[in-house]
Structures are given as structure tokens and as C-alpha cells.
């Protein structure tokens, strides 16, 4: 097994990854090696993901080992900002040629590293492996090792050739690389009880600087930001931080969790998007630092700062509430930050008509539901036509999304705001929220919309693409309404599993024919959820719709074992059984459960679940817990 696949295995044993937890053992083994659907894939590759995750390290020379496509077509395209070195934006690539492909590119790589060190003298060189040299067997680990020995500069191999999987996997592979080769290799000049790491923050548009002054004011030092505006030495000595905040909910969870494991740095998952989230995150940072030995007066200062900043932000936002009255937002992030943006927009008085959950994990979706109410209209893989219809039906006044879907909004002549990484504005912290609101206002009331919505005077307005699309959809809907057989056919034709192309009808038939009750069973019979596994939630919904309940296994002992084996805390791998035992042994509140089992001491997301369990378990007789306790 090559080191890349070994690393991938490690990544997919990630207990902190909620998506991963939804997969079976076999699925996890497969990791993200699942083939993207040819002809239907649009995301970036693992190399892209790795580069995105690490490139914001500003003083590192990022050398891409591969043909010109990998770096030549993509360099200097990130919106991160540096407060110092600009070498991170310099495009370095080995630009391998035909001869290299035949005879191997290792020599060229070694020489490239040599030239970079001679000309630019960076504190480190990161070498990114790409598909072609991986195919021809270039051993970048060996080259990096040799180069490091020869030149005395750390040369870090990032093994993430594009074909191993999607961007998200690349993020994690990048994390593994710095865990293995960078973190803990140097010592900080000094430490304080107020040192934190921020993990998964890229300083896009300089947004970290919207928050850093607040931390500065509180005397909290960002020992290392991984990776926005980060420096090699900071990351190398980041193992001395007292606590960590993980910003992007998925991208670098492995780094946060393994740093906790190896260096005893507790972390929490937080966000600086939105007023409430910013306050919560500041509080949590203060709380964790105090727990790790900082002076408790830090909390008083933090609260005072929060009160002041919130008041100012609210005052600034209040001015927009009238202008946003009855304005609706369609949010399509294609990313995991949906939930944090939802909260932020609601704070500004905007009504959300939907949000995309394309890449969000189940847990993200739950949060969105929580914030928006159960009837939230989540848009999973909307087609451009549908997206247009939604905008057109005046259900939305503005669309907020990543760069890719902008063209639908813009061609539909609908206000649009970029909220993904390609954006030009920074939206973090209290001031960032106000900035976001300002930008929404600007987009909503730009007079350009009246202009561009006017059809060309020589056009028959009935015949433009917008109206054709609407007419077509209405005709289809009418045809279906008139023909129940066709309607049923259309309903059944809805794709549930995109990876394996399995539709609703096939799954329903399989459930009925084989009396299936589990996602696993559906997979055996239809292959649905055999790819990325993201559709398992949708399959569960089908069970619910069909009224199929998971039956108790015939063997009550097995059933009980299965029930007890269910994970409650993903970060610390704590099961229902362990927690029940702890309660039986006397733990009566969350803190005590955490103290005994470690459950809830990771990201803390399972706190509510544990509270729910406590409510049940601490109740009198008749509950399973009482039975367990009695045994």
C-alpha cells in the first residue's frame, strides 16, 4: 500500500468527520476513492484542495511538481492575504516535459527545489505531487528528504495527486502532511497562557484581520493560523498553543483532532461569521484558555468587549432593517458554511427562502433546520432552470452564492453577491457582518437591474430563454398534473443517489420487494449510497415516507448490543453504552458525563444529545437505563 493510500485510510478513520461516520466500514475503507461521475463532475481535485489549504502560508515556496496544467492554469487565483511575504503567490512548478515523463521527473524536481532555495531562500518549500509524476512513480518523499538534507531547508512533500479524490480529500491530505512534517518540528520563541491556534481559516480578503484586533485587545495571541496569513515557523511551533479554534467545519478537522491527541490542545468548532457566532467563539476561546490556566478575569474583559462590539454592530445593522423589510434571500453556498451565513443574514432581518446543502454534512443540515425552522426549503442540486424559476417567481430578491452559480443569477438579471472564497469582500466578525449587509443593500438597490431586465426592443419577450424555460417547466408540470401515470413516473425518476445513478422508484421497489429496513439493505439491492454516501439521509427519508420502521433485530441481546454501540460523541468515540454506564455509575449532568467518558470534550456538538440522554436516564423506573442499572 502506497503512502498516499495509507494516508487516505487514516483520513477516513477520522472520527471527527460526521460524514465519515455515516459510512459503513467498507465505505470507509474505500475512502473518497469513489469515482466522480464522468460528465457530471464539477468540483476541484485533491491537488486543488491541498493547495487551497496550504497556500495561504505566506512565506513558504509552494512548488507544484507536474505538467504545466496544474500550476500554470491555476496560480495566483486565491483571495487570501498576507501581512508579510508574498512568496506564496509566486507560481513555482516543475513544468515537466515529455522526457521527464519517460525518464522520471525527480531530477528536475530536485533541481527546482535547489533553484528556489538559492533564489528565494524561503523558510520552507512545500512540494505538491500531481497526477502525472504520481503515475510515473516519482518519489517526492525521497526527493524532499534528500533536498532537505542537502540544503538544510525543510522541504515538505504534500502527497495529493488530483486523481485520488475530490478537493475535500485534498484539504485533509494537506492537513496530514503538515501534521507529519511540520507541526512540532520547531519551538516558539516564547509562550503565553493566551496562545491559540486557528485552524481552517484562510484569511480570504483579509477577513482574519477583522477579528484579530479583537483578540489583540484581549491579549490573546494567535500562535498559528493554519493557514491564513500563517508563517512556516508559526505552524511548526503551533503545538505549544493552549487551545484551538477550528473554523471551517470540515476541511481540517483531522489537524485539530490530532493536535488534541498528540499535543493535548483542546479545540472547539466555531465561526466568526455573524454576530452571535463571533461572540460565542470569543467566549469559547476565553473559556478554554481559562481552563488551561489563563487568568479568569479574561472572561470579564471578553464579555465587556462582546457587549461593546455587539452594540456597535447592531446599531449599524439596524439602519438597514427597513430597507430589508420583506426582502428574501436565496442562499446557495455549495459549501459547508451555509449555517453560519444563515444566522448572520437573519440577524440583518432578511428572510431566507432556501439554502443549498450540496456539500454540507448531515449535521450542517440539522443546524440549518434549527435556524430556519423545519420547513426550510433546502435546495439540493437545483438545476439552473429551477434556480431561475425560483428567482423569477419572486421568491427571492437576491441570491448569495459561490462564483459558479453566479451566472444563473446574473443572466436572470437578479442581484447576486459572492460569498465564497473568490469574493472580494471580507465578512468576518462584527464589522464583517455589517459589511455583508452593506453589500447586500448595494446589490439589492442597484439601478442596473431595471436596465438589464428590459428585453431587447426587437425581441419578442415571450421568446427569450427565461420565458422559454418557465413555459417549458409549466408545460411539463401541466402535463404531469393531467396525467397521473406520467406524474408517478416523474416522481419515481427523481435521482436519489447521484454517484450510482439510482432513482427513487428503484429504491422504493427494492424496499417493497425485499422488505428492506436499513440503508445498508438498500445498498445491497440497488447500489444506492455505494458512492459518497451522502444520500443515506435521503434514503432514510424514503423509509420514513413509506412508513417503514427499523424493526428490532430478532435477537434481543444483539439488539441491545447494537443500541449500546451507537456513537454519541464522534470526536472521542464514545458510545451510548459507555454514557449509560457512566450515568448508572452516578454521573448526573453533562459535565460529569464528560469528566467520566470524555464525551463532549471534542467539538462539543454532542452536548445536546447527551443532555437528552440524561433527561431520559435520570428519569425513574421503566426506562432501559433503569433496567441496565438494575442488572
Amino acid at each position: 500500500m502506497s503512502s498516499v493510500s495509507a494516508t487516505i485510510q487514516q483520513v477516513f478513520n477520522e472520527p471527527g468527520c460526521a460524514k465519515n461516520q455515516n459510512k459503513s466500514e467498507a465505505e470507509k475503507k474505500k475512502g473518497c476513492t469513489k469515482q466522480l461521475q464522468p460528465g457530471g463532475a464539477a468540483g476541484g481535485c485533491a491537488f486543488d484542495g491541498a493547495k487551497i489549504a496550504l497556500q495561504p502560508l505566506t512565506d513558504v515556496a509552494h512548488l507544484v511538481h507536474g505538467p504545466i496544467a496544474c500550476e500554470g492554469n491555476s496560480w495566483d487565483n486565491r483571495g487570501a492575504r498576507s501581512s508579510g511575504s508574498q512568496i506564496w503567490r509566486t507560481g513555482f512548478t516543475t513544468d515537466i516535459n515529455e522526457t521527464d515523463v519517460v525518464f522520471g521527473g525527480e531530477k528536475r524536481l530536485f533541481k527546482s527545489i535547489k533553484e528556489i532555495i538559492e533564489k528565494y531562500d524561503p523558510p520552507a518549500v512545500f512540494v505538491y505531487q500531481t497526477c502525472v509524476p504520481a503515475m510515473i512513480g516519482d518519489d517526492i518523499d525521497a526527493v524532499c528528504k534528500a533536498a532537505k538534507e542537502k540544503f538544510g531547508t525543510p522541504v515538505i512533500p504534500i502527497n495529493s495527486p488530483g486523481f485520488v479524490g475530490p478537493k475535500n480529500l485534498g484539504n485533509k491530505l494537506a492537513g496530514e502532511a503538515i501534521l507529519e512534517h511540520v507541526i512540532g518540528t520547531e519551538e516558539p520563541d516564547y509562550t503565553t497562557p493566551y496562545d491559540i491556534n486557528i485552524i481552517g481559516e484562510y484569511n480570504l480578503s483579509g477577513e482574519l484581520w477583522q477579528v484579530k484586533p479583537l483578540l489583540d485587545e484581549l491579549g490573546i495571541r494567535i500562535l498559528a493560523c493554519i493557514s491564513g496569513d500563517g508563517r512556516y515557523k508559526d505552524v511548526a511551533s503551533s503545538h505549544r498553543a493552549k487551545a484551538a479554534m477550528m473554523v471551517c467545519s470540515k476541511a481540517m478537522i483531522n489537524v485539530a483532532r490530532k493536535m488534541e491527541e498528540r499535543y493535548d490542545i483542546p479545540f472547539f468548532e466555531g465561526s466568526f461569521y455573524g454576530i452571535q457566532d463571533s461572540s460565542d467563539s470569543l467566549r469559547e476561546i476565553a473559556r478554554m484558555l481559562i481552563e488551561r490556566g489563563a487568568d479568569p478575569e479574561l472572561m470579564d474583559r471578553t464579555e465587556a468587549l462582546i457587549e461593546r462590539e455587539e452594540a456597535k454592530a447592531w446599531a449599524a445593522i439596524a439602519k438597514f432593517k427597513d430597507r430589508f423589510k420583506d426582502k428574501k434571500v436565496l442562499l446557495i453556498t455549495g459549501g459547508v458554511k451555509s449555517w453560519s451565513v444563515v444566522a448572520a443574514l437573519q440577524e440583518a432581518g432578511l428572510e431566507l427562502v432556501g439554502t443549498s446543502v450540496k456539500k454540507s454534512t448531515k449535521e450542517d443540515k440539522e443546524r440549518i433546520k434549527e435556524l430556519m425552522g423545519q420547513d426550510a426549503h433546502m435546495i439540493d442540486d437545483m438545476t439552473p432552470r429551477e434556480m431561475y424559476k425560483m428567482l423569477k417567481d419572486a421568491k427571492a430578491d437576491i441570491m448569495l452564492s459561490g462564483g459558479r452559480s453566479q451566472f444563473i443569477a446574473l443572466k436572470a438579471a437578479m442581484p447576486w453577491l459572492d460569498i465564497n472564497q473568490e469574493r472580494h469582500h471580507a465578512y468576518m466578525g462584527y464589522i464583517g457582518m455589517v459589511k455583508l449587509v452593506e453589500e447586500i443593500d448595494k446589490a439589492l438597490y442597484n439601478p442596473i437591474w431595471e436596465q438589464v431586465r428590459k428585453p431587447a426592443p426587437w425581441d419578442n419577450p415571450a421568446n427569450n430563454w427565461q420565458n422559454r424555460a418557465i413555459a417549458q417547466m409549466e408545460a411539463e408540470a401541466a402535463a404531469l398534473a393531467a396525467d397521473p401515470v406520467a406524474a408517478e413516473k416523474a416522481r419515481r425518476a427523481k435521482k436519489i443517489c447521484n454517484c450510482k445513478s439510482v432513482d427513487l422508484g428503484t429504491i422504493e421497489d427494492a424496499i417493497k420487494a425485499h422488505s428492506l429496513t436499513t440503508v445498508e439493505g438498500v445498498k445491497t439491492h440497488t447500489n444506492a449510497s455505494g458512492g459518497c454516501g451522502a444520500c443515506s439521509g435521503r434514503i432514510e427519508d424514503i423509509f420514513e415516507a413509506l412508513g417503514v420502521a427499523e424493526p428490532a433485530p430478532a435477537d434481543p441481546v444483539l439488539a441491545e448490543a447494537a443500541r449500546r454501540a451507537k456513537k454519541v460523541c464522534n470526536c472521542k468515540s464514545v458510545t451510548v453504552g459507555t454514557i449509560e454506564d457512566a450515568v448508572a455509575a452516578g454521573a448526573s449532568n453533562l459535565a460529569e458525563v464528560t469528566a467520566r467518558t470524555e464525551a463532549g470534550s471534542g467539538c462539543g456538538k454532542c452536548g445536546e444529545r447527551i443532555e437528552d440522554m440524561l433527561d431520559e436516564l435520570v428519569a425513574p423506573l421503566g426506562t432501559p437505563a433503569a433496567l441496565v442499572a438494575a442488572e
Partner: protein
């Protein structure tokens, strides 16, 4: 909509305005074989000449009656007589256009009377095209000089058609305002010809000052519309006037020849061009050619791409009325706020300008307002460069003079294509400005609530989006 306000000061500092005689002289330069003649002291002409040379980077035909102190006191008949004779004999012009200046108007020279006497005295000049316009420096501005001169050319040089003479449906008179550059006229000619129309531009700077290499040397204008063609403009079925300043000339044309006119106050922007192209389609009986349909689509797309960068910008603009109205309105439609507008002379178009007030003032006023109101985009002629330096905001040159850049004559803002290119250029300047001056640094948000935490110096305390001209939330934000 905009209130017209006069600056309350005596001393103009860093003038925006130029004088009306040279506006008149420029109009004459759009005639073939023309020699404009300023009736005034040498300096009046020399300054105008240098100004045009620096703008167009071309040889400029411009003569002077070279009024001396004595001549000024005693009256300028001899000077006018000598000047006309000299020009007539030496440069063999097809037309001499005479504009009065401050000195001769102050004295009260009766140039119309002089010309009558000269024609009587010199038979060779009896029917020679001589057009005189009264353009005192101390009144009005450059644009007014142009306006009066074109109207006068129409009155004097266009022949009154016979009462029953049929109109030529293909012929169209185009009366462009002085806010259009030769490049604009080239574009318009191309558009009209694509509709199968035969345009006569009066004046036609594209023929004379488009910076082409002439076939032979001539001290007069090297191109432009011929006096013979001007004479037959009454045959045209339509007159298209561009810019509100051209209404006077268009009305003169209608009065004299019966040719109806259509005034297009703007040709920059989507809506104005939709109207323009549909009008051409109507009068030509042809469909809008494919290339322009496509250009319209390109403009819409350009507007969408550019609005991210132009939306919310605060514009400080200093220009003559028609230019200001045209460009500022087009930018307003992109979401730019017209925050400071300074102009040179009164005009009815300001009633339609979407901003609070237009100040009759100078570049000092513009700079002060731009600073006070936090403008972050400056549009004016080249003399705005010092203000732009001090304000450190992106600066785009419009109008005359544009002496510190080349190719000024080929800048183009009309049509779908001209609008598209203007929006791209301005948006790119804003992007560059952001990169160079407003990129985030660790200190950008150090004191975010003090006002400068928003990238462009917008203050939180201001009304939402700093958009006073937006008024209350429109009730129909879409459809």
C-alpha cells in the same frame, strides 16, 4: 431632478470651463477646407490652438484677427477685412468661420455689418461662405459656443429646399454635440450605414481631427463635411440631434428645410441605445442588424460584470452639461452614486440628472466636494489630474482637453459597444484602485467603527449604503 447651484465665490480656482469662441472654432473645424478665425487678440487664438493641439495631437487650423490695442479701441473692421483677405488668398479655404471674443464684444464690433461691407467691396467674396457667430468669452462656455455655431452654420449654409422638393428617405442629418469625439462619430457613421442610411454629420470632426495621415498638406482642415454637402442637408428625411445642446441647430434645420428631427440626449447606456437603434430601424425600415443585437447582449453582460465594481462607488464628475449628463447617467444606472457634479454652464438636461445638485463651478469645487463627500471615482478632463493625485482616487479623463494622454480623439462612449468599453475601463480602474490602495492589511479593521473600516472610506454612520439619491426602498425591486 438636480438643482442647479452657482458656486458662491469670486475666484475660480483650477477652472473646469473653457471659453465659447474656441467651442465655436472647433465646430468650424468639422467642415472641410475650413479656417476658423477668432476675432480678437492674438492670445485668444493661440491659447485655443495650443489646447486643441495638445488634445488632438494634430495640426490645428485657427487664425486670428490679431487685434491690437489701437484696433480694439477704434474698431476691428480693418483687421477682419485683412484677415479674411489674407486667409482667402493664402490658404484657399472653402469656408471661413468667424467667432467673436471678449475684447471685440466688449468693444461692440458689428461683425455682421463688416462682412456685408467686405462682400460689397470684394466681388470674389460676394458669395464666398463666411459664417459669423457671436461668442463673447465672458458669457456661457465652450459647449454654448459649439451650439451657437452649428445653429448658425445651418442658418447660413443650408439651402432652403423648393417647397415641393421630395425628401431623400436614405439621407439623415446628424448633428453631434461637442461631447462626442471623432471616435464616436466614426462609430455612429458605421451604425447608420449598417441600416442603409446615408448620414451627413455636421460638424464632422471624424473627417478632420481623427488623426489620419492626409494625402497632401493643407493649412485648412483636412476633412470634414463639405460646404456643398451642408447646402443639401435639407433633402434629408430626418435630422438626428445628439445632446441637448444640438436642439437649437436641429430646430433651425427644421424651420428652414422642414426636415423633422429627433433629439437623443444620451447615447451612452443601454436604454438610450435601445431607443436609438429602434429609431434607426423605424426610419430605415430595416431590422436591427445582427451585429448590434449581439453588441446589446455584450453590453448587458458587461454591465452585470462591471456593476460589482461600479455599484456603490461615489462619483465626482466635472464636465460640460451634455457630457456630464450622458456619462453620469450611464454610471448611475450601474449603481454608482453621483455624489459631486460640477459643470460649466446651464442646461435643461440637469432636470433629468439623477442627483441632488449640479454646481456651476470649477475643479477646486469638485475637489473640495469630492473630499468632503468621500468620492472614490473622479471623471473630468485632464486638468483633474492634480486633484486626483491629492485625493488618491481613480481618475478617468473625459471631454476636452485630454492633453496628457494620447488617442483622446478615438475614445468612444456611444452605442452599445462604446458603453460596454467605458464600463470595462472604469470597472478595471476601480479594481486596480482596490488592489493598490484598499487591499486589506492587518490594520484595516483596527478601529472599524471609526469609519474607515469599509475599504473605500465609507462610514458606518452614513445613511445605509451612503445612497441619498436612492431615496426610499423601491417597492418593485424586480419584474
Amino acid at each position: 431632478m438636480a438643482k442647479f447651484v452657482q458656486a458662491k465665490k469670486s475666484c475660480a480656482v483650477n477652472p473646469l470651463k473653457m471659453s465659447q469662441p474656441i467651442g465655436g472654432a472647433l465646430a468650424f473645424m468639422g467642415l472641410r477646407g475650413a479656417m476658423p478665425l477668432l476675432h480678437g487678440s492674438q492670445g485668444c487664438t493661440s491659447f485655443g490652438l495650443v489646447l486643441f493641439v495638445r488634445h488632438f495631437k494634430e495640426a490645428i487650423p485657427l487664425q486670428t484677427t490679431a487685434m491690437s490695442e489701437v484696433a480694439t479701441v477704434l474698431g476691428g473692421y480693418e483687421n477682419v477685412e485683412q484677415a479674411i483677405l489674407n486667409i482667402y488668398n493664402r490658404t484657399k479655404p472653402e469656408i471661413i468661420g468667424i467667432c467673436s471674443t471678449g475684447v471685440t464684444e466688449t468693444k461692440g464690433d458689428d461683425v455682421d455689418g463688416y462682412i456685408k461691407l467686405i462682400r460689397e467691396k470684394y466681388p470674389q467674396l460676394a458669395d464666398f461662405p463666411l459664417v459669423y457667430v457671436s461668442t463673447p468669452d465672458f458669457k456661457d462656455a465652450f459647449q454654448d459656443g459649439w451650439e451657437k455655431t452649428v445653429a448658425k452654420i445651418v442658418e447660413v449654409l443650408v439651402k432652403k429646399p423648393a417647397p415641393d422638393a421630395p425628401k431623400n428617405p436614405k439621407r439623415v442629418n446628424v448633428l453631434p454635440g461637442c461631447h462626442l469625439q471623432p471616435g464616436d462619430l466614426d462609430e455612429l457613421r458605421c451604425i447608420l450605414e449598417d441600416f442603409g442610411l446615408e448620414p451627413s454629420f455636421l460638424p464632422d470632426l471624424a473627417g478632420s481631427l481623427d488623426g489620419h495621415i492626409p494625402d497632401d498638406f493643407t493649412p485648412t482642415t483636412i476633412g470634414g463635411i463639405g460646404v456643398d454637402e451642408v447646402a443639401t442637408m435639407g433633402e434629408a428625411a430626418w435630422t438626428i440631434a445628439i445632446g441637448s445642446q444640438m436642439k437649437t441647430a436641429a430646430e433651425a434645420m427644421q424651420k428652414k428645410t422642414g426636415t423633422p428631427y429627433r433629439l437623443f440626449e444620451r447615447l451612452c447606456g443601454l436604454g438610450p441605445n435601445d431607443e436609438f437603434f429602434m429609431f434607426l430601424s423605424e426610419i430605415s425600415g430595416r431590422e436591427v442588424p445582427r451585429r448590434y443585437r449581439r453588441q446589446r447582449g455584450q453590453l448587458v453582460d458587461a454591465m452585470l460584470d462591471a456593476h460589482f465594481h461600479l455599484g456603490g462607488r461615489k462619483l465626482a464628475i466635472g464636465a460640460e452639461p451634455d457630457l456630464l449628463f450622458d456619462v453620469a447617467s450611464a454610471l448611475h444606472e450601474m449603481g454608482t452614486h453621483i455624489t459631486a457634479a460640477v459643470t460649466t454652464t446651464q442646461s435643461p438636461v440637469f432636470e433629468k440628472l439623477p442627483c441632488d445638485e449640479v454646481l456651476l463651478g470649477d475643479l477646486e469645487d469638485l475637489e473640495t466636494l469630492a473630499k468632503e463627500r468621500g468620492c472614490d471615482l473622479l471623471l473630468t478632463h485632464s486638468h483633474g489630474r492634480q486633484a486626483a493625485d491629492r485625493l488618491n482616487i481613480p481618475f478617468y479623463r473625459i471631454g476636452i482637453p485630454m492633453f496628457d494622454r494620447i488617442g483622446s480623439g478615438h475614445k468612444m462612449t456611444v452605442g452599445y459597444r462604446g458603453t460596454r468599453d467605458l464600463m470595462f475601463t472604469l470597472a478595471n480602474m476601480c479594481i486596480a484602485d482596490h488592489e493598490q490602495n484598499h487591499d486589506a492589511t492587518p490594520d484595516t479593521w483596527k478601529n472599524p467603527w471609526d469609519g474607515d473600516g469599509h475599504g473605500h472610506g465609507a462610514t458606518i454612520a452614513a445613511t445605509p449604503a451612503g445612497a441619498p439619491d436612492l431615496g426610499p426602498a423601491p417597492s418593485t425591486a424586480h419584474h
